[in-house]
């Protein structure tokens, strides 16, 4: 995994030193809030509803155990004993004191982490597949490329004041676990004539105007990746609208100018700047990065204990059925640790849980941990034979909820419980839905289902690409929840369709239950998933179920 070099260390130390001085000057009164605000945002520090919030980047979702332990330490020492993992592979601390933040940043730097470009109109944390380098379906590990992009984009002088924030996601697998089509740039690794390159997608995004990205070039060879990205971001920097914040994202640029025009400009810019890039040096650097991400040595292991446990222990079997994914190496598995206990806050982990997971990663998973955009943690390389012991340890810590990919594995943004922009709460809605499907013992019967909740139209909770999406709004001073159906964040990404009028806070859980029961009635058989049934039948039967009782109530 990537280790900071001397340059990185010096750069971060200098940034932190600057920020410490800026905090001091804010407190002694020599900086006004107006002057200080952009400076704190450059370091990931927001002011939210109840407190400051520090957003720390977890590059492409990869952590080592020392880093996770340090994140836990920060939660203990400077926060309220927990952290919140987000859909953008960040961790957010919800309660730091302003005066402690410089110390927190120094503690992060000790383990090669930072909060730079986690806010502001810059290229944000590059996100990736949480199963990178482990997934059986992968073409190649996307992370060396993600790291290359991170180094290119961090402190890039031209791209610190873009028209708006800019998000890049990269996947090395045809099964897209990084929602590439809902990013400003999505990169999908492909192979053409034996050569690795990228299909480049631009102009995806959620928020107030959700859009699925479009393919701007179906093959960019590895050697051209950085100049091609630079050409896209540079073109956007010139062409993107600065007159209206809501029309400033590249999705609007592509929409208003047309893909053809944007493509022509990008290609022309690419031809112009490509010669300025030293392809040889990049190739050499990439080769070094690939060494840092070299595939771990996974010696053959017996798997008898795994099969025994499956046979005799139903709890283990249920967990294994939902929380494991196929590994490329025989005898190994990818383990997703659900941060969605029924009734818990989606994405939260306590300091003790983080420390335990770091220890378990050391014991069973080569010290590596991943953060998924679905707000779970992942141990990417675990021998099948170690799974029963791992499961036991997770279970003892309340970390063995067998619900990955099911109805209670809900993405929820912080909503009005933390976020200053929110129009309604998200977290308690997620908690209640999860508790309800658990009480009814429905979710294993329902099978694969993605419910996603946002507390305002910014769509941080990805509700547009939820199979069931929930958007919290303010209707005349009361919380109201709108439902979308049929969204999909996979390689076949689709924006969901709004069903109709929203539901009051105390009506949203019953409304979701009606959709779920309609699906159980309508599906061909257990093998037809919710999304498949929705695609076959369309929205009408679900809408009928959703609004039927409302009409009765009104009558």
């Amino acid at each position: 995994m990537y280790q900071y070099d001397e340059f990185d260390r010096a750069f971060i130390a200098e940034r932190n030193r600057q920020f410490r001085a800026q905090v001091d000057r804010r407190i002694d009164g020599s900086l006004t809030e107006e002057e200080f605000r952009p400076l704190r945002l450059m370091n990931g520090l927001y002011l939210q509803l109840h407190a400051y919030m520090l957003r720390v980047a977890i590059p492409y979702g990869t952590l080592n155990s020392a880093q996770l332990r340090q994140l836990a330490m920060i939660a203990t020492r400077w926060d309220k004993g927990y952290g919140h993992f987000t859909t953008r592979q960040n961790i957010q601390y919800n309660w730091p004191r302003l005066t402690d933040v410089p110390d927190i940043l120094d503690a992060l730097a000790e383990v090669g982490l930072h909060a730079i470009q986690t806010s502001g109109n810059t290229i944000r944390n590059v996100t990736s597949d949480q199963f990178a380098a482990a997934a059986a379906d992968e073409i190649e590990d996307p992370r060396p490329y993600a790291e290359l992009i991170r180094q290119w984009s961090t402190d890039h002088p031209e791209f610190q004041f873009l028209p708006r924030k800019f998000k890049i996601a990269i996947t090395g697998s045809p099964n897209d676990r990084a929602v590439t089509k809902a990013h400003d740039i999505g990169l999908r690794m492909v192979r053409q004539n034996g050569e690795t390159g990228f299909e480049v997608i631009v102009g995806g995004g959620l928020g107030r105007t959700p859009m699925i990205g479009k393919v701007i070039r179906d093959f960019v060879p590895v050697a051209d990746l950085l100049p091609y990205l630079e050409a896209i971001v540079g073109t956007y920097n010139l062409l993107g609208r600065r007159d209206n914040k809501y029309k400033a994202r590249i999705k609007i640029t592509v929409h208003e100018n047309g893909l053809e025009k944007v493509r022509d400009l990008v290609e022309a810019q690419f031809r112009k700047i490509a010669p300025q890039f030293d392809a040889g040096a990049t190739a050499q650097h990439l080769a070094q990065l690939k060494q840092q991400f070299a595939a771990p040595d996974l010696p053959p292991r017996d798997d008898q204990r795994y099969h025994d446990a499956r046979r005799i222990d139903g709890v283990f079997r249920a967990w294994a059925d939902t929380n494991l994914h196929p590994h490329r190496a025989a005898g190994y598995s990818i383990v997703t640790i659900s941060l969605k206990p029924h009734g818990g806050t989606p994405g939260d982990a306590t300091d003790a849980q983080m420390t335990l997971i770091a220890d378990l990663a050391d014991r069973y998973a080569l010290g590596e941990i991943r953060v998924s955009h679905e707000q779970n943690l992942v141990l990417p390389h675990v021998a099948l034979d170690d799974l029963p012991a791992l499961h036991q340890a997770l279970r003892a810590a309340g970390l063995a909820t067998a619900n990955v990919g099911l109805a209670s594995d809900i993405i929820a943004c912080p909503g009005m419980d933390y976020c200053a922009l929110a129009t309604a709460r998200s977290i308690p809605v997620a908690q209640e839905i999860a508790q309800h499907v658990d009480a009814l013992k429905l979710e294993h019967d329902i099978g694969p289902l993605k419910i996603k909740i946002s507390g305002c139209i910014n769509a941080c909770g990805h509700h547009h690409v939820g199979h069931i999406g929930i958007l919290g709004l303010d209707r005349a001073g009361v919380e109201n929840y709108q439902i979308t159906l049929g969204g999909d964040g996979s390689e076949d990404a689709v924006i969901g369709t709004r069903t109709g009028p929203g539901f009051a806070y105390d009506q949203i859980v019953p409304a979701v239950e009606r959709i779920l029961r309609a699906y159980l009635d309508l599906r061909r058989d257990r093998s037809e998933t919710f999304l498949q049934a929705y695609r076959r039948l369309g929205a009408d039967p679900f809408k009928a179920a959703l609004y039927h009782t409302e009409q009765e109530d009104a009558a």
Partner: protein, 99 residues
Amino acid sequence: MTQATPVKVVTANSLIEGDVVWLAKDGSWTDSLQSANAFTDKADAQTALEQANLRQNEVVGCYLADMRLGPTGLEPAHFREDFRRRGPSNYAHGKQSQG
């Protein structure tokens, strides 16, 4: 329906802690809504806000929040101010923990 009087309070986040505070009658910042100074007169509220805005080394983001003054004291007119008063719903470690 109710005899509650519409009033305004000055609210902000404290500079160091970031937590929600209200301007009290004695001019200090309080973390209890019930101690907030309730303005019935719009011009008075506006003046208090302007003065509060000058206290940059104590607070961030002052604004006037709508409240109702009823028999039990100050009640937020909008649910956002209710959450600001109570703290987050998922853990009792915001203002809830202060009783």
